[in-house]
């Protein structure tokens, strides 16, 4: 089975052929690159080149190498009883760690102080959380505009459709994204204190899911429900975007708005609650 120089074994020929295929596929890859490249052809040629090389090497190892099964004794992992004692002595005694308790204590104090001081730059990674988690860019008198910055008008929104709006001057603002939805006014069953926030059946809710913060992007008009595509939290538009299914723990905050004579909408203030996912002190 071993191939001496004159008569090469069949396996040796096969391995040699496989290595030849690798060389050819490599050349082919070169040509493909020069011609401008093509992802699928590149992938196949690279796979052929590597594949025949790999198979060739494995065949070489399996069939042409003499690799007898051998038995090796295990030796105990630990070094014996005297070595750990020696190590401890080297660590503790020779350095005086065990004798100079006072100095060791002060060294620990020094390191703790230094560590505390060096940890401070970590705080530069982010500002301290302030009130921005509680507020958005909505202010009384801000008009509702689309992502393009153009004010939306009542006539542009058919019944049971919706549009994503932002405060004028902040189109695209991440935390102020709001859904303006038009529903038949007689169907709305909002909390009495908020009934006036939905003029003519136009009702505005924060678009940020109160579960994990995805934009609540799906509207099932037949049931008048908003659905978050990430985790399927479902909110009932008619009852103040209360969660009716899924993992969301509270309603989408409602934006107080009113309709102006020219057909544009104006916010009467910010959302009454923090938008988006909950955090521990959101009620403060």
């Amino acid at each position: 089975m071993s191939g001496s120089a004159p008569g090469r074994s069949r396996v040796e020929w096969v391995v040699a052929a496989l290595f030849g295929v690798t060389a050819l596929a490599g050349l082919g890859l070169l040509v493909v690159y020069v011609l401008g490249g093509q992802t699928q052809v590149e992938g196949v040629l690279l796979a052929i080149a590597l594949g025949s090389l790999g198979i060739g090497i494995v065949m070489w190892a399996q069939d042409l190498m003499i690799t007898p099964v051998v038995v090796e004794e295990r030796h105990p992992l630990e070094a014996g009883p005297e070595v750990p004692a020696d190590l401890e002595e080297a660590l503790a005694e020779e350095s005086g760690f065990t004798r100079r308790r006072f100095l060791v204590g002060m060294l620990a104090t020094a390191l703790a102080g230094l560590a505390a001081a060096l940890a401070i730059p970590v705080l530069s990674l982010g500002p301290a959380p302030g009130r921005e988690l509680f507020t958005t860019a909505w202010r009384p008198g801000k008009r509702l505009v689309g992502a393009d910055g153009v004010p939306v008008r009542a006539g542009d929104i058919p019944v049971d459709s919706l549009v994503t709006v932002f405060p004028e001057g902040d189109p695209g603002s991440a935390d102020s994204q709001t859904l303006l939805i038009r529903v038949p006014p007689d169907q709305l069953r909002l909390d009495p204190t908020r009934a006036a926030w939905a003029p003519d059946g136009y009702v505005a809710y924060s678009k940020i899911c109160t579960h994990a913060g995805c934009p609540v992007g799906l509207y099932r008009a037949s049931e008048r429900k908003l659905i978050c595509p990430c985790h399927q939290s479902t909110f009932d538009v008619l009852t103040g975007a209360t969660p009716v299914f899924g993992p969301a723990g509270r309603p989408l905050p409602q934006l107080p708005i009113h309709l102006q004579p020219d057909g544009t909408f104006v916010a009467d203030g910010d959302f009454p609650e923090p938008v988006g996912p909950a955090f521990w002190n959101e009620r403060s």
């Binding site: 590597l50 190498m65 921005e132």
Partner: protein
């Protein structure tokens, strides 16, 4: 160069025969480092042979492919959130406002020669990497290879798994496409949900209120420097401990607790492993060339007020996503402290699962009272309780992963997603118990059948 020649070389050339170039090089190095002795015992290291011992190697080789393709990608990727106008060759996005990061990924995909191939191999390698680790750790678990003295290497391996997950998630987030932005938004919300420190933590990691301009640069540092560096350190320690402790083996033949039966590392094992490395790369190249993955041009650039539906993460994040989808909508406020709904499924349950996983060798030793050294592996049925627990946990992961795609599955099965979610909520509790009990039963029966055959090795 034929086999007998190679095997004979050290003996034949060691004596008075003419010195070869190799002899001179080895002597030169040895005089300066004294490493020849170490190298000799390393080359003579004995490795037992079983197909399941190759799983860890596949993971290692995926890491090699990841580094190689990843270095290529760094030459072209820009971790920059600043807006630019896309003017590349992909017509649907021409004129669109995108981030410089997204723009660079588009350039890699459409203009850099072999760029898309490298990107897709990189992504597929990441997917296979985590899969290989999971299968490898399952092998370790079910055969009891983690038992004393290998608890330490179990902990190192656990750390590597966590690092692999972090590497995967940070990499997935870098292209700044719509899908990755959604994933980051969820991660931010989960971090924010931790009582007392959540908002601080989220601000420190992300640099402020989501979305921030700093984030991509930070993710990039984590993805291409910190995590890979830690992984190289971890892999080195993992292999060093393996080397010092020697490999485990299955009982049978001449194998005993006190020995290792196998083949020398050099040349057989080394050649076979090299072949496996190249074959792993070959398969990744084939898949990377032919099977599209993460087509960011289809998802489009990240826009904070848009979302793609269905939104699916890479498979190894699916179970976390499933936990969030199945989580209850409880959001109590206790003494003014709100416990956000994502805290339980997003932080508490993963921490418990990962924590139990990390300290499993110590839990099992405590319960079984078995603190002896073990170098012979068990077959899974030889430890039916462990088999039951492991099968139950794996079943839970399968149910949760299915839940992570409940919207897609609901469309596929023509059922309401609400009904599917309710079913999966029940299954998440019932299925692991049922599968665990069945596994226990099968294990006990198999063990009993084996016990009938007279055993030589007590």
């Amino acid at each position: 160069m034929t086999a007998p020649e190679m095997a004979d070389r050290p003996r034949v050339r060691g004596g008075d025969a003419a010195e070869t170039e190799l002899d001179r090089l080895v002597a030169w190095l040895d005089e300066r480092t004294g490493l020849a002795g170490v190298a000799r015992s390393a080359l003579r290291k004995v490795f037992p042979d079983h197909w399941s011992f190759l799983l860890g190697e596949v993971a290692l080789f995926c890491y090699v492919v990841l580094v190689a393709t990843g270095v290529f990608l760094t030459f072209f990727f820009a971790a920059d959130s600043r807006p630019v106008t896309y003017d590349g060759p992909y017509p649907p996005l021409q004129g669109a406002q995108v981030s410089a990061a997204f723009d660079s990924v588009m350039r890699i995909s459409f203009e850099v020669r072999a760029g898309l191939l490298m990107r897709q191999i990189h992504h597929w390698a990441a997917v296979v990497f985590v899969a290989a680790i999971v299968v490898h750790v399952s092998r370790i678990f079910f055969t009891g290879a983690f038992r004393r003295p290998r608890e330490v290497n179990w902990l190192v391996g656990f750390t590597l798994l966590i690092l692999a997950l972090l590497a995967g998630f940070t990499g997935y987030s870098l292209p700044d496409d719509l899908l990755s932005g959604t994933g980051l938004r969820i991660a931010y919300s989960v971090a924010e949900s931790i009582p007392f420190i959540g908002p601080w933590l989220a601000y420190l990691i992300f640099g402020g209120e989501f979305p921030t301009v700093e984030l991509l640069g930070r993710l990039y540092v984590f993805h291409i420097m910190l995590i890979p560096a830690l992984m190289i350190g971890g892999i080195s320690v993992h292999l060093l401990i393996l080397y010092l402790q020697k490999h485990t083996q299955f009982a049978g033949g001449r194998a005993r607790e006190s020995n290792v039966v196998g083949r020398h590392f050099w040349p057989g094992q080394a050649f076979r492993s090299t072949g496996l490395l190249i074959l792993t790369a070959a398969i990744l190249a084939l898949v990377g060339g032919l099977v599209q993955i993460n087509p960011v041009w289809v998802y489009g650039p990240f826009v904070p007020y848009a979302v793609s539906s269905p939104a699916q993460p890479d498979w190894y994040i699916g179970w976390l996503e499933g936990l969030l989808r199945l989580g209850p909508n409880w959001q109590p406020t206790i003494l003014g402290v709100t416990i956000p709904t994502v805290f339980l499924p997003g932080i508490v349950i993963p921490t418990l699962l990962f924590g139990g996983f990390a300290i499993w060798p110590f839990i099992e030793a405590r319960i079984s009272g078995d603190h002896r050294e073990h170098h012979l592996l068990q077959w899974p049925w030889q430890a039916p309780v462990r088999l039951a627990i492991g099968s139950g946990i794996l079943t839970l992961f399968v149910v949760l992963t299915i839940a992570g795609g409940n919207d897609v599955l609901a469309v596929f099965l023509h059922v309401e997603v609400e009904d599917l979610t309710s079913t999966l909520r029940i299954l998440a509790f019932v299925a692991p118990v049922v599968v665990g009990l069945i596994a226990y039963r099968l294990g006990v029966e198999r063990r009993r059948r084996d016990a009938v055959v007279p055993e030589t090795d007590a």
